[in-house]
Amino acid sequence: MNRGSTDVAVTAQAQTERVSPSVEPDQRRAARPVVSPSPGGAFEVAWADVAAALRITPVWLHSGWIDVVWRFRRTRLGPFWHTLGLAAFVIVMGVVWSTILRQDPTQYFRYVTVSLMVWMLIASLVTDATGIIIAGQTTALSMRFPYPAFAFAHVWRGLLLFAHHFVLYVVVMAGTLHWPGTAVLLAIPGLLLVIANGVWMSLLSGILCLNRRDLMPAIGSAMQIMMFITPVFWPRDMLGAHLGFAADFNPFYHMVRVVREPLLGSVPGLDAWAWVVGTLVIGTSGTLWLYGRWRDRLAYWY
């Protein structure tokens, strides 16, 4: 290429811009200078990135959605495979465990269905999030990308899968002729609180696993154990008076409660709401602090 032709092209471009001043900028335009490493304290840095991630909402909304589409593209049932798997699990569990635990079968069916739906959402927000930042390598290494956007995309993806499972909820409720009543509306704030918790949980999980790859399988196992010690398959009362505290001090239990109980038609106690809100506040502040502290090192951990 020679310089002459470049100059001509520059002039031509300058002219087009003068003719049509409404040319829309292609890029997220940085009106103010961007300083790297980010100045300010940990929370300031973290908040700036959360705001940046919110500004690119179309990006993560699309990528979370298209991920689900792509992942199940070559299957006939698509995401409903998960629902079907859940259904099979629920049927087996419903029959076997209602006998073992001496529970009323129809009531236990509903309990296990809703419990598992909610648990699978919560667990996927933690377990599947281990790889979200690692998978974003190409993106994170070619621009200054706000990492919380990976967490937003992940939570959105989890919510989409949860929506598929909802079919099973309707089927089970209709099949067992149970109407939860207006309490079911409380599931909406409950779900919102759970996914708000999901944001910090998946961001934390993604960051930790980026730095220490050993944590990926470790977190997987931990969440599996968690499923058995959290009252998911069995009611809390079965722990008895002495072990009840194991559930009461388990934040996951309260997260399950605020969605499960409204869906089954009862109102979760105030303690559940307090726990979930408390977890949200503490978890979010802790994660934001950690994020702000290490934000500028993350790219070096790839």
Binding site: T6, D26, Q27, R28, V35, S36, Y300
Partner: protein
């Protein structure tokens, strides 16, 4: 108004080394400091770019060119010092952010373009143009999984170049498939470059940089070795390569070969000293190609120099074996024999006397 300021920036990668040892400089790559557990990829970099600046990054593999682009893009925040940028930035690397093999071409265009910072409306406007440019035809609605490697590259290139940033960061060697597409790609790249107000391009092709940039940085082991106008820097760089190649540095000879090839492709004049070193590399990698020693002898004599007698004699023996009719070679060999004979090894010695005697 775009601006890019780098102030004493360092990029240091944490490493966990199993064996300790004193820090040493490897032949390529950054400096390894085992004691502190870091690899210094970029060391104390400072410069400033303003509207209209075209900066070229030169250096061998692992000199820190790509790291520098990532630093400027904001992907690697400097571990010391700082980088201040004003204006939208776009980076063109080989890998396109957001590209997935499971999606169709059209879906991938949307996903990648969103990742690269385009709005949905803008993508919709440009969609057809991107598809046209990538020359994917009916493949555009098929999954990328079944594309050929060239098609994936074309798709990535078409999307990445659809974004029009103020600051454009380019990594060299954007593989762009066949010759036809490579030409088209070059045209598009030039348009993009013309529209950006700051360009930083990393390349192995010094001639390309010399033609495109008004300023060049020569990097080595993550340091700025020199900084200046592209042409001047190129001459310095060439002189360094030639000098290194003269003292039998095989890597430098290979470098000289690559530079010569590059000049040939561009139809530019090749300096004789560079060609000489390139030919040494060529003779080593393909000893059977007799064009190379012939040209080598020519290049040396054109520079008014002479090879050591035994070296020239050895080449002449090989050449006479293939072209016995070349009387000029025979005469030259006969001339050389008195000096060369004692320094030749046995099989060559016998052949030399036989050839010269005919």
């Amino acid at each position: 108004m775009a601006r890019l300021t780098v102030e004493n920036a360092w990029v240091e990668f944490p490493v966990r080394l199993t064996r300790g040892g004193p820090g040493k400089v490897s032949r390529t790559g950054g400096e390894i400091d085992a004691a502190r557990g870091v690899v210094t990829a970029l060391r104390d970099i400072s410069f400033e770019l303003r509207d209209g600046d075209r900066l070229g990054l030169m250096g061998h593999n692992g000199a820190g060119k790509t790291t520098m682009l990532r630093l400027l893009a904001g992907a690697y925040p400097p571990t010391r010092g700082r980088v201040i940028s004003l204006g939208s930035i776009s980076t063109l690397f080989n890998a396109t952010p957001g590209l997935s093999l499971d999606g169709t071409g059209r879906e991938n265009i949307l996903t990648c373009a969103l990742h690269l910072g385009m709005s949905r409306r803008r993508i919709a406007q440009k969609m057809e143009e991107i598809i046209d440019f990538a020359e994917l035809g009916d493949y555009i609605d098929l999954p990328v999984r079944i594309y050929s490697a060239g098609m994936v590259t074309r798709l990535g290139f078409a999307v990445a170049t659809a974004v029009e940033p103020e600051i454009l960061l380019l990594d060299e060697g954007l593989a762009t498939g066949d010759a036809h597409f490579a030409r088209k790609a070059e045209g598009r790249m030039n348009e993009l470059i013309a529209r950006s107000s700051i360009l930083v391009i990393a390349s192995h092709s010094e001639t390309l940089l010399a033609s495109m940039c008004n300023r060049c940085l020569l990097l080595e082991h993550g340091r700025i070795l020199s900084d200046g106008p592209a042409g001047e820097l190129y001459d310095t760089y060439r002189a360094q390569v030639v000098e290194a190649a003269r003292v039998d540095d095989e890597e430098a000879q290979g470098r000289a070969y690559a530079m010569t090839q590059d000049l040939l492709r561009r139809g530019a004049a090749i300096p004789l000293d560079l060609e000489e070193q390139a030919l040494r590399h060529a003779m080593r990698i393909s000893p059977d190609d007799l064009m190379m020693p012939q040209r080598y002898l020519q290049v040396v004599s054109l520079q008014g120099r002479a090879l050591p007698a035994e070296e020239e004699a050895r080449l002449l023996i090989v050449l006479l074996g293939r072209y016995p009719e070349r009387e000029d070679y025979r005469t030259r060999l006969a001339e050389l024999l008195p000096t060369a004979m004692p320094r030749l090894a046995e099989p060559d010695r016998a052949r030399a006397s036989a050839l010269a005697a005919v």
